[in-house]
Symmetry: C2
């Protein structure tokens, strides 16, 4: 029998951040697709839409009116999944029926007053304002009593459940530490205790040496396809320095984060020449009042598209019941992305 | 402050099978939906489609010809994610880069020669043939060297990544035990060691007493919305007796499984009067050659629809980065389903 080679043979890869595995089937990318084809949404939008509840000066569903904001704008979600005034309490009926009340705050963050823009089309100096707002919200929300985790995220594109194309993200801040950050807290802590360094600093070091999964790099950040990526073009942005959160970044580093965020999302848009849908979010240290020397700031990008602008990867039967599965390797995905033009396709002269 | 009440207040619930929590926001079901609306697929199909690669007598993409099967039919997937002839091996470069070869077998199971049918429209005696084929495949695949888990599942509907409406399911049998069954193996084992009974037998007992989440019951099985359901209308079928797999069911019990599978899927179809999409699958004991007295046979149903035939729940940003979240309670979902007519909407006289 020939030798095992992860570029050719089906295998599983270990994700040291979650402690979980992903099934990789490199040979399977050739299968024909006869399933659902997504609608590609018409791209040209006005810079102001009188019907958009996120545009400056417009009325929201709840009746409030947005100010005439000039750059970024955060407000409390009119349909918050978490509420501040939740009575505390625990329900328990034996080991098998357990519920706990959960309180929190949900906010919406508008990235720009311009309805027609997206991050890859914005100027770095304006994306920087988004980064600053993230930092401010993380700090303010995190200081509140009963807020132990601040999850900042963005759903981009209708196929990622986004109901408004105005460039925006969300924050859900909660009293308990959610599932994914809890897993990452455990693994990062164990690694830090063993090695005295953060897991992601060692990981980044190795990836920079290996080079093949690196998508973009600047002085303070690296964008890469993690070895254990689940989604076809899943990526991460990792800070070069070990810092637990945005508050520990220097002024220059915050601009570098804006810069790499733009570079990565330009690659995504250029891949299929379409505004690339994804869910993305920051993983910062819990705001539970403890020191987190083990925590290493990073951002995950989970884009669903697989083969083209309208064929996505479905995480369904086997993935829901058994193990996440992917059809192309992380290396294949990286080589496709990093060889694209750094200029956004809409900006290119035709 | 008023008292915590899980029917009204945001809270999290514990899933003792996975050890994970779900965030429940009961108040949030009132939010308006302006996002993606799914296409409702035209329902009337011929009983034989000359272009369908699953219909009897037709040629498949790989060139093979299906026999003129009369009830059920299983064959090896032409685009298997797992292959039997995978060279064994491990790749490891420190703790952070780990891959292992994975071998296995993928099969497709046609539920009926009739292209136009779905489980809720089939006769119980014909669904029983599906159950028998599941049992046969579980046994045969599970006995093979290097097959330690046999995952039987079904993706139904285009929005669940199903590329062919012919009634069918799949089996992916693998050398390693996948993620979800691994979690369930641990929790079931711990419970069994502590109590000397299976977790799901105690759970079922309590649910039968409480009644509110029970959807259907017959002599051998119960269909219910688990207390910790994540998807809006997620459900489980649980066997009344503690058995690790289909091979331990009596003849009568296998027919009861077919019966409850039909009853549950009729409820689903009747909810929005549409062929209800879902991913479903059996969780049986690993086929790793060990005894599994702790394992309790069950089947999960993960349907994506939320509000109507064309508005689904998106498991995106917060769910991917933090914690799964739902907008209606398990109790609300159960009460809607169990009050529906037991007759399939297509069979009702208009
Ligand atoms: O095997 P199929 O039906 O071609 O593919 C479908 O089910 C698989 C197993 O859940 C998934 O990995 C695919 O994303 C999905 O489209
Ligand atoms: O808050 P939105 O944008 O209305 O809703 C979107 O994001 C939420 C957080 O990821 C999800 O729970 C919803 O399913 C999704 O449609």
């Amino acid at each position: 029998m020939e030798q095992f080679d992860y570029i050719e043979n089906p295998h599983r890869r270990y994700n040291p951040l979650t402690g979980e595995w992903v099934l990789v089937s490199p040979h399977r990318s050739k299968r024909p697709w006869q399933g659902q084809v997504e609608k590609v949404v018409e791209e040209s939008r006005p810079s102001h839409d009188p019907k958009c509840y996120l545009c400056p000066g417009n009325e929201r569903i709840g009746g409030e009116v947005n100010p005439n904001y000039k750059d970024v704008y955060a407000f409390q979600n009119d349909f918050s999944a978490l509420l501040q005034q939740t009575p505390k309490g625990v329900f328990s009926d034996g080991e098998l029926f357990r519920a706990e009340s959960e309180s929190g705050i949900c906010k919406v963050i508008c990235f720009s007053p311009n309805h027609s823009l997206t991050i890859p089309e914005m100027k770095v100096e304006n994306i920087r304002k988004v980064v600053d707002l993230w930092a401010k919200e993380y700090e303010e929300l995190g200081q509140k009593k009963n807020i132990n985790y601040v999850q900042i995220f963005e759903n981009k594109g209708a196929i990622m459940g986004c109901s408004n194309p105005h460039p925006h993200g969300q924050i859900w801040a909660s009293s308990s530490i959610p599932l994914e950050p809890s897993k990452e807290a455990l693994t990062q802590k164990a690694y830090y205790e063993k090695h005295g360094r953060s897991m992601l600093s060692d990981y980044l070091q190795s990836e920079l040496e290996k080079e093949e999964r690196i998508l973009a790099e600047n002085d303070a950040f690296v964008a890469l396809i993690p070895f254990w990526a689940v989604w076809p073009f899943e990526s991460m942005i990792i800070s070069k320095r070990t810092v637990p959160d945005l508050l520990h970044l220097s002024d220059k580093e915050k601009t570098e984060l804006a810069d790499i965020y733009k570079k990565l999302t330009i690659m995504y848009d250029n891949l299929f020449e379409v505004s690339f849908a994804y869910s993305a979010g920051l993983h910062q240290a819990p705001t539970d009042g403890q020191e987190h020397p083990e925590w290493h700031l990073h951002m995950h990008f989970y884009p669903p598209l697989l083969r083209s602008a309208n064929v996505k990867k479905f995480m369904v039967g086997y993935e829901m019941l058994a193990t996440p599965q992917r059809d192309i390797t992380a290396e294949g995905a990286a080589s496709r992305l990093k060889n694209l033009s750094p200029i956004h396709y809409k900006q290119r002269t035709k």
